[in-house]
Homo-oligomer: 437 residues x 2
């Protein structure tokens, strides 16, 4: 069902036919994200994502916006630390239009100085909105504290200062360097025929003059920066040896305290991510998880409490988020630390292991009915994993996870002294020193 | 494809078979929401939604949470002003489990005093979280200002004070009165067979002793309270005559100002909701809409800006949301007022009309691939609309909308003096008096 074609310029086109649906999700993914930015370019990947909606040689902003609105399609884009995606979901008959509009944006945007200036205001608003949501802000603060002033540690949106300083010349140069055909992946899932997609995409890129040049190989999957990964692991290890982590506090006069408590995790290339996935599901992934039961169900201390595991090319993070009244934060932190220790010392129970596997299996299989999530699976296989695991193979790897595997990964990762980020009405970060000891 | 059965107790079961998928969305909907609450019961509908996860005669909270987690299903619930829904999405083979768990919760919850007390903390956390997000808080503030201290004007979550005061006796009594079989609708969409669903649901309700009593007719669709609707329309009319609306300000030291500017809208029973839907899409529903183009695209004054139309049994609202830096709010409000006036005086262009129709058509048709949205369609037809319009009929009504229809509804609704709610770093509501004149 999955077919892949590489055009001479290195452009990859991957499709998955789902004849049982009437819609198509079409995406163009660029192998560029905030971790590719120098400090001077901080926020440029995301800025560019906005600017690609502002106008091309053939279309102004209104024509870009209205093309898919008129046929009732959805079009949007997002930027992460490691990639940027432009996508549309349309009825199958409207696929040619979606291909034309999105390929036009990706290949032929003008990124004029006027657009850079007018969109600067929008980005500054987005940063302010993000900062005003304490549950968003605390995740950025945690990444900053865990990874410091490094590409992974910086916020995807950039900062007010970096956005105010970026020029048209910088952003346009970044665009020309980073959106070459060999760094792009076209991913399509839905009621489509592979050859028809290849024809449409080839036409669109040829029309833009982007397939007439030299022959290139596709950019290999992102491998990260091993030296930085080692350095980060080494510093985490040093912190663990020293017996203490670190605390970062942002004072806000909010009604709730928002916290993230976490440690370095696994890079995406580490096959133990399936073990960590099962552990994370059982530890804090659902209503039956330990964290939910202990913090919310039994004690009523929080509305939102969960754990997460994020993977990047060369590193990752594992953490707990909770939002609670400021007067409850010490009790919530005590419970989080206790639960982490219990997992380190005793792992999971049989029943938790099976439930964790069930959750991973379920979200995988239920997700397959959605053209958007299938489309994302195809693109990420090429951009960051370097292989497309079949659903059966993923299910096999989930099933293979044992209690011993879980205990080992828990001990290896969760024994490190944690990093804590807090957004809330506190004056002094030192009051949390005990929570990271 | 849609089949409906009414059991002797008045319990409705509606299914839609989607043989092309492998999953099922199963929901039990209760005809109860925050607008059914007296001031003393404010927040009780939503409190109850939480309490139904805490334990039944056959299951404790952990058993409820873990049942569907184990098979990788999703289970959740939500409360609105007019109904409450408990739902699960599972693989078709797991439907019997989903029916058993959710029907058990809905029919046989214990709502113990201990659970009421422990969940009280969770609800207070949810209220605090909601208040900490200014873009959420401003919508509640707007409803409060538009409808005053009436059931529709009060927040779904209740207030800290009302939640602190609610007793087990009150909440349990509300549960027994409001969750009778004749007030419930079971809606199911996915790979299911109607008779099998009827059998499973009948068994579950019989096991709970909830179908052995008297014969009842289903509760008719919510009709609202016409006298209140008239009063509200009259007061809006009076405000319009007087040439001024009202302003409500909540001071917060946020980076952005968040605003909702709006007027009374249409009740759900008003067939002109399709006209308003087309108008809303073209006015502020997508990237190509007037508001997005004027506020964000051309001037870079906001990241999030959109219009909305909400319908209730006896009334509705139409409004604009925007988040912007405090220094930009006067300019944003000026543009919003200008754009409202332009719609009142000139309606839409041909092209906008067609694009608005396209957007409504597209979101309808694309939504049909999702079992959850089909399930919701079935339930709402019975609970609030009183009829299930076929997709073709809805498409026909959208297509029938004319420029004249749009101009008339714009003039009728949008000429009223607007109500304004603002959450942001301002001291004095009077500074916005000009915006509602």
């Amino acid at each position: 069902m999955v077919r892949r074609t590489v055009l001479p310029g290195g452009l990859r086109i991957i499709t998955e036919a789902m004849p049982q649906v009437r819609s198509v999700s079409f995406g163009v993914w660029a192998s560029v994200g905030s971790r590719d930015e120098t400090p001077a370019l901080a926020g440029a990947s995301h800025y560019l994502e906005h600017l690609l909606f502002k106008g091309t040689r053939r279309r102004d902003a209104m024509e870009i916006s209205s093309a898919l609105d008129a046929v009732g399609g959805e079009m949007n884009a997002f930027t992460t630390k490691e990639y940027t995606c432009y996508y549309a979901r349309v009825l199958d008959a409207d696929l040619p239009l979606a291909v034309d509009v999105i390929c036009d944006m990706v290949t032929s945007s003008l990124v004029t100085a006027a657009d850079v200036d007018s969109e600067r205001g929008v980005i500054l608003e987005e940063i302010a909105m993000h900062d005003d949501d304490p549950s968003d802000a605390v995740h950025d603060l945690f990444a900053e504290e865990l990874w410091g002033d490094s590409p992974l540690g910086r916020p995807i949106l950039g900062t007010t200062e970096s956005i105010e300083a970026l020029t048209r010349r910088q952003v346009y140069g970044y665009y020309r360097r980073r959106y070459r055909p060999e760094s792009l992946v076209v991913a399509v899932a839905g009621n489509v025929e592979h050859r028809a997609v290849v024809r449409l995409v080839t036409q669109a890129f040829e029309q833009a003059g982007r397939l007439n040049g030299q022959v290139s190989d596709p950019t290999p999957p992102r491998s990260g920066n091993p030296s930085r990964a080692l350095a980060s692991a080494a510093s985490a290890a040093a912190a663990a040896t020293a017996g203490r982590g670190s605390v970062r506090l942002a004072h806000r006069p909010t009604e709730q305290a928002n916290l993230v408590l976490g440690v370095p995790g696994l890079p995406r290339s580490d096959d133990r991510r399936f073990v960590l996935g099962v552990l994370n599901a059982a530890f804090g992934g659902g209503m039956s998880s330990r964290l939910f039961q202990e913090v919310r169900e039994k004690r009523g201390l929080a509305y939102a409490v969960y754990s997460f595991a994020s993977h990047y090319a060369d590193s990752g993070m594992v953490g707990i988020y909770a939002g609670c009244l400021p007067s409850k934060i010490d009790e919530v932190l005590d419970i989080c630390r206790d639960e982490l220790e219990k997992v380190v010392s005793s792992g999971l129970t049989d029943e938790e292991l099976e439930r964790g596997k069930g959750q991973l299996r379920g979200s995988l299989v239920l997700g397959l009915e959605d053209t958007g999530s299938r489309m994302g699976r195809l693109a990420k296989a090429d951009l960051v994993y370097g292989e497309l695991l079949s659903v059966d193979e993923i299910l096999r790897r989930i099933d293979a996870v044992t209690l011993d595997d879980v205990r080992r990964i828990g001990k290896e990762l969760l024994e490190a002294a944690p990093t804590l980020a807090v957004v809330g009405p506190f004056e002094d970060a030192d009051r949390f020193a005990g929570a990271v000891r």
